[in-house]
Symmetry: D2
Subunit: 136 residues, 4 copies
């Protein structure tokens, strides 16, 4: 995402106490996970077995919302408010973890769920990494 | 919001372990707070002193995103996933608290900030109440 | 929504060429419709017949997204940009109309779909009214 | 965005009458534009001249909301509803065009605005291309 990097480079305040490369990675994985969750929910809904996948669909819908909000809040680099950033990152990693746990087992027979679980795990990890760097 | 109540009443699963009236109150205060934050950010941006209000504007933009995501996730009543619900409620009350602290002092001279701080405080409180009922 | 009115009353620019009461009504019906759609999608997903309701669920998910974006953009009263406002209102009324057409027939046997179709029709109408007042 | 492609490849219904590569390109440019707008609004807000940039900030905030909603609706590939898809793509290209026109002139002295105008122009174009392919 060249744009995101360019935008951050152009920021007059810099990213303050935040590690810039970890921030960019986290923003990207949030939007990537959101997109994948939206797609996964849609594919699950289109399956004949949709009724069996209810918990999985609910988790991806929730995960989408939290990831999109987190990606957006983190994109407001200059606004980094310690408390809000930390709180939303914690919510995001919980949603990603839960969604990966719901989608993962479906992934043995459904490729889209395997893809989604992978995106969730990666997003969970980048949230954790950014949280750890904030705590220092 | 008659609609929201009707939708919940019509739910085949009920709201499970969640206290229905606390849930409805929290959903309403989340959307109400989101709406108020969007309006407050806009009024602040339109003031000549916009540059002085940067922290306040940032907080309202962040608070909008979290409140809207929380209101939406809670509206998916059947999907109540304990972990995700708790995580997003915690993030929401933190954002509301922070936003109220930013807007509150501006409220002495700016009515829209006073209105916004009030909506944030109410939303923070309903999140806390719902969280407490979930913990039982 | 006392808050929304207070925020608009406090706006230094007023709502410009826009009819204030029509604007407030439209903002409220957008957020109300969004909330109702989120609830309806959730109830449909929780039914055993979820697979038969796929088109209905998709419409409510789409309608939610457009209504929420429209409500938010309209809440930025000071920013009223004629072209963007018009474009998003047109998209919103189309989504509401489509969603009402999907949910309406289900409403004979599903109360939540009847509630949702009603909220969509009201939102479609307030979008039309606001659009007509903008065109003058 | 390998994920998005994988999700679409895994879709049981395919993308129906929609050109898959144009769809993927449009989804990506919507999320990319949303992200860039969020960043641009934040940088503008952090500048001392924030009050002069009000129109630009408003346009980027609006453009973010529409692009994010459009990217999400398009990601629900199986749900492609002709009317809603067309309506939201039309709103998106209008918002991108307007935002590019606001940010473009600032781009001579502000690199972030130049980056943002570029992302908006690309998104406007992919919306147009997808709309044209839908009309066939």
């Amino acid at each position: 995402m060249t744009h995101e990097l360019s935008i951050l480079d152009a920021h007059p305040l810099g990213s303050g106490p935040i590690d810039r490369s970890k921030l960019v990675e986290c923003i990207q994985s949030c939007f990537d996970c959101a997109q994948t969750c939206a797609g996964c929910a849609d594919v699950c809904l289109s399956e004949e077995a949709a009724a069996e996948l209810t918990k999985c669909i609910h988790a991806t819908l929730d995960c989408f919302d939290i990831c999109a909000a987190t990606g957006k809040i983190l994109s407001r680099n200059g606004s980094i408010n310690g408390d809000i950033t930390r709180a939303v990152l914690q919510a995001c990693r919980t949603a990603c973890k839960t969604c990966a746990e719901e989608c993962g087992p479906q992934g043995f027979t459904r490729r889209h769920c395997a893809v989604c679980a992978g995106a969730c795990r990666r997003c969970e990890q980048t949230c954790n990494t950014l949280l750890a760097s904030l705590a220092q």
